[in-house]
Symmetry: C2
Subunit: 84 residues, 2 copies
């Protein structure tokens, strides 16, 4: 069993209204040190596989087919074995 | 200038309908290897600070005051210096 940590982020050129809203919230709380916020998704997925390479290939396909929108988003992931 | 990567996750005991929906989507695409999905938030925040300790203290306070809901969410973060 493997645990995949998947990070989905907007591409740098894509407008990020959620990030801008969070930045506005931080500034209104007095955090003037914050200069930019980009918001993304973080997913933890348990994958049933016998080998790391198999788990990684599965997660790559998941990202391409469902988890990220390739037009506006990029993704990266780490796969770690879960020791039961 | 520092870049903070903030991960906000639901506590393990909290129900996660978004994660369940993503798991259902994966299964309907044929990814039977996926056994659990937990959805969280991933934020990249640029913080203007002269020292790492100062940046980390700022990010800790941001998490407590705005970014995470301490009743249902946990958070962790990494702070790296941006070399301009």
């Amino acid at each position: 069993m493997f645990l995949a940590k998947v990070y989905v982020t907007l591409k740098p050129t894509v407008n990020d209204p959620q990030g801008k809203t969070i930045l506005g919230g931080l500034k209104s709380l007095g955090f003037d040190q914050a200069t930019e916020v980009r918001a993304g998704k973080y997913l933890e997925i348990k994958v049933d596989a016998t080998e790391r390479a198999e788990a990684e290939a599965t997660v790559e396909e998941m990202c391409r087919k469902l988890l990220a929108n390739p037009v506006i988003e990029g993704y990266r992931y780490e796969v770690d074995e879960i020791l039961l």
